[in-house]
Point group: C2
Chain length 137, copies 2
Amino acid sequence: MSDREEHGFTLDPRLAADTAFVADWELSRVLLMDDARFPWLILVPRRKDLVELDDLATHEQAQLLSEIGRAMAALRNCAPCDKLNVGALGNIVRQLHVHVVARREDDLAWPGPVWGSGAATRYGQAGREALIANLRR
Amino acid sequence: MSDREEHGFTLDPRLAADTAFVADWELSRVLLMDDARFPWLILVPRRKDLVELDDLATHEQAQLLSEIGRAMAALRNCAPCDKLNVGALGNIVRQLHVHVVARREDDLAWPGPVWGSGAATRYGQAGREALIANLRR
């Protein structure tokens, strides 16, 4: 099903430009942030005109929470980490999206947040594809 | 009920030092970050030994989400804002806590995150008490 056929959802082009597609789960499009500094997934509920978490219906909020848990588990499996960071900010891209980031005490931004922590280091193609394959498992 | 009587919960002393008490909701202790730069609530589930969101049982995760929505509504009522930021980081204080922050496009950190954005400006006592009274309504 194309994005436009599915509840009028279209991915924000800035999110599309910064990420690679991982999967469509029941509610969310799952994206890998193309930044090799941090193992970092972004969940975008495939509904149109969402900005804030509470723009989602209650049952969809519960589904999103379940998918956040699934993203946390996927990251833990692929990337040993000391802490997971979860955030819905949206100051720059207003389309509702949730960051789930695996953090290590020796990563480049620790203990600060990843947001605003400098320019992304893109993955090489092979590394990106291997990680995505791993995340899908 | 004292903290120690309630599921062995004790508030992390760093969270206690940076915040003022607002209320105890069904699951969460609600705290006001003592930083007049940003209207900012912190929800701390009153359970012991929680670090990550998925350390909570599923029904408690749903309750936390409901309380996040309640915190968003309380902030909107007290502090006109352009965006709400919600985050569970925990890189410094590991005790599970969720930030809910009212952001304005003219605030001091916009469009960056509030975390790591410099030193807090404490409220005066009257301003803090007035805001807390407002948040409780």
